[in-house]
Symmetry: C2
Subunit: 439 residues, 2 copies
Amino acid sequence: MKYFLIFGAGKSSLFLIEHLHAYGKSKQIKTVVCDKDIDFVRTIFNLDDFFEFKQLDIFKSEDLEPLIKNSEIVVSLLPAHLHLHIAKYCLNHNKNLCTASYISDEMQQLNEQAKQKGLIFLNEMGLDPGIDHMSAIQLFDDIKYKGGEIQSFKSYCGGLVDDDCEGDNPWRYKFTWNPRNVVLAGQGGCAQFLSNHQLKILPYHQLFKKQDVFNIDGQILEGYPNRDSLIYTKAYGLEKTSTIIRGTLRKQGFCSAWQQLVSLGLTDNHKILQLDSKTTCRQWINMYCPMGVESIQEYLSCNDEDMAKIKWLGLLDDSLLPIFKGTSAEILEEILKTKWQLMPNDKDMVVMIHEITYQLNNKLYELKSFLKLKGETQTRTAMAKTVGLPLAYGTILLYEGKIKTKGVIMPIFKEIYQPVLEQLKHQGIDFQEVVNELT
Amino acid sequence: MKYFLIFGAGKSSLFLIEHLHAYGKSKQIKTVVCDKDIDFVRTIFNLDDFFEFKQLDIFKSEDLEPLIKNSEIVVSLLPAHLHLHIAKYCLNHNKNLCTASYISDEMQQLNEQAKQKGLIFLNEMGLDPGIDHMSAIQLFDDIKYKGGEIQSFKSYCGGLVDDDCEGDNPWRYKFTWNPRNVVLAGQGGCAQFLSNHQLKILPYHQLFKKQDVFNIDGQILEGYPNRDSLIYTKAYGLEKTSTIIRGTLRKQGFCSAWQQLVSLGLTDNHKILQLDSKTTCRQWINMYCPMGVESIQEYLSCNDEDMAKIKWLGLLDDSLLPIFKGTSAEILEEILKTKWQLMPNDKDMVVMIHEITYQLNNKLYELKSFLKLKGETQTRTAMAKTVGLPLAYGTILLYEGKIKTKGVIMPIFKEIYQPVLEQLKHQGIDFQEVVNELT
């Protein structure tokens, strides 16, 4: 029997697998799901003739190669650095590939070879990157079709906790995604964006200091800039646009308090500490306060709200650290994993916003387009849905031969984003738009 | 004729060469000086039968090997990362080696081999590291000999400009040493030190925020901590000492203003900028101010003194940048090279201070020991003298067979520091001491 081949059976794979399986069943195509650990999918899905779960080490070529060779199409939801490994087999065996990850330099280097073979490696096909590209470009197309000219573009996305599930947590944040990525967010280089024709560069230690603020449906959210907001300038056709910024959303008050943890040095992931097994949280924080933990607020010059958040995490308490060996980022992650844990009945919430100003017939308009989606359960999360469904739709477009652009691509082409956004709408993944004329 | 072999003929080699040559002449030993570029020594020294200057590529084994093989002893003042290359030839040809640089991990790994061959690789034999080790350990020995117990040890050193040569420069600093090292100082990891039994860790972006302040002979100096102050705890015999900090000295007001440049991100040496060739200093700074350069003081929350220093550098002026391609650290370095340039009649000044508190007969004492040395001319600098002379004395001790400790070592042994400090004293490199009983 023909089969779709999916690598990655983690929590974010649920909607992808569910949708591809349903589609495959209707076409007499099996869905084969492979990973090192397949416990999650085993407990979630009922096996039928159109399902196969395979425990697999992707570095065992003798296992991997025949699987890819005989598949219809390959989808990878593995950690981003593993896509290249899969992509090389796809190249050898002439298979199209779909991922939800940023195109790495190494992946981009396969572009010419893929083109020559008429292959399509469709990447950035999740939420962010993914739905952000597709929804933004559709807005740009509309504006340009009417004859408008885009002056400013701000695009932010965040994986948050549903407002009803915040509890007494003053950070108003819980982990709905990889904790490690949240703790290390923004490290490894300066962020850059364009503000009123001016290039802006922010070092990591200032990244969370000054936020863009958005009013979404009456709720105030704030955002900090992502690494390089300008890499899509050309792909988006924004060469003449004076403000371009892409960023990450948090609820109000988060960034300022997180900036304090960054300022202290608690997110440092280089220096490995080997602490005494009686070290308390307070003693650990004291290490980062040259004048002592007692004067932490004075040292940081931070406000009472930020201090309340720091205290709520227990960082100033005499309780033992959860681990005694590791970088401070690792220690902080362990503390946050407890404090920011998503409880069994908690639901997540995905928010995406595009704020565009444009000139049309000598008038200036502001367009706000936003998506706010709540998770159904702790497993059927908004995050898994918004990552998995576009990936499934992209895979089906590929399978049906409806994408003509070849090579290593992302969903900036109408042949991709139009049908995908249409199908997402039917699943309730739908943007609301407000246009105001600016004086 | 026998010969001493010196690698490195830069400005810091003057006193080393002068002294070794004078000593060699009295013993009928030549001094051979090698470097890629030997223009400086050619203009400074008059050639005689006991001098030889060789232009040499140290990576040409056929040139390097016979030189080392036939030498009496080898001295390297090359950039630190090149010592290992020289050390390996010394090992092969059974030659002792002397350097003024920190012992790298790679150099340390040669310890066993050097010991087995009865060789001595004497490192950290300059000013800092060098005189700092020797002078501190002599103080510790004195205190311990009397039965005292050391409670606290602070050691700071700085290469500064002579007070009389500051001009109108509000930073009160000029480059008397490698500008690159000054701009990048403290990067590449957190600093750590011990304060009142408590380990303290400072990330780079906080390094210049809070300074130790010293009154040296009526002059206020300030210092920031160096990388890891605790690596010498054992070598210094300070296992029971509650405060250990080693750092770098600047004149009052420097650190707080430098902290502002670090906070902005101007010392970033990763992101390579490719700017328009009409970019001004002000436009460059504007990139690092999210709300615009106009509100820089508000953004940094810095005081008027810091702002005056930033303005004096011309950073807010509409003048063109000196270079348009490079990291911001490189751009900043070019600007500073002009603004902080040592003028022909300017002299430098080296300051070192040890502040030690110790308990003796149930009383607590504070010992301040400091060295303040001014340069003679722009070439006969205090820096070149305090780096070059200990290296020369160490080399002569090695040549005369007066050092019994074998292997990869630093000058923490009495057989080294006692005669070297004694000779330095005769050259006016002499510490002043003040002891006060603390209540």
